[in-house]
Amino acid sequence: MLNDIDYNHIENEALNVLDAYEITKPVVNVAEIAKGEGINIKEIKMQDQYKGVAGFYDKKSNTIYIEETDAPKRKSFTIAHELGHIFMGHQNATVLYRIPRKDARYAKEEKEANCFAADLLMPDFMLKEYMEKYHLGKSDYVVMSDMFGVPIPAMKVQLEWLK
């Protein structure tokens, strides 16, 4: 259920991470955050049976695997998503997959991880600062997606939700 998700808690978790790593400007370096948490990142070619999987976190090896052929923006979002699972303490699976929205029945944990990724890469305070600085509006999501290094649809949604 959508209402079960505590968006404020997720936003605070993401802000705490940004604060801990003293990140105040985009592009948020999620690889550095992962590194700081002792998590490895590996780029691999997903096997055919996992086609459509953007990445996954393997608890055993403490490694986030991402699809090597993905665009940089997608790789960044995938890592942020997997970090979301880790920081939110999701324990339901040892391997947590990030599957594109159209292919998945989004479970609560997936929504939470996506929400965390969005708040980590595009926190409200940063969006507002950049909109003010460059005189941009909510309709400028394309250029904002470049500034923040995130996929265009993600930026569009985040701006729609901007308070």
Partner: protein, 97 residues
């Protein structure tokens, strides 16, 4: 490998910021340049109205239909209003939205 894609993202981000900065400076320069001319143009319209009313009032100009003066003044008022609206809402949209 990770550094590669992050460098790409960083590069694209910085480029986007530079472009936006340039565009904003361009708009500000344009605003400075055009604001003087717009002010002059509005001044000319206002002076024209004053002269028209004065000449008509002192009967130096005689119109057969007095409605002409009202129409001209209304037309000029709408021009001033339209000009202001266009400038603030359209030409300098990005700065004022």
């Amino acid at each position: 490998m990770t550094d590669d894609w992050y460098s790409i993202l960083k590069g694209v981000g910085e480029k986007a910021e530079t472009m936006e900065d340039k565009e904003n400076r361009g708009i500000l320069d344009m605003r400075k340049r055009w604001s003087t001319w717009v002010l002059i143009f509005i001044g000319v319209i206002v002076i024209f109205d004053v002269v028209l009313v004065f000449m008509y009032g002192t009967k130096r100009w005689d119109f057969n239909d007095p409605a002409v003066v009202i129409v001209v003044i209304t037309d000029n008022f709408l021009k001033i209003f339209g000009l202001g609206f266009l400038i603030t809402r359209e030409i300098f949209k990005k700065i004022y939205h």
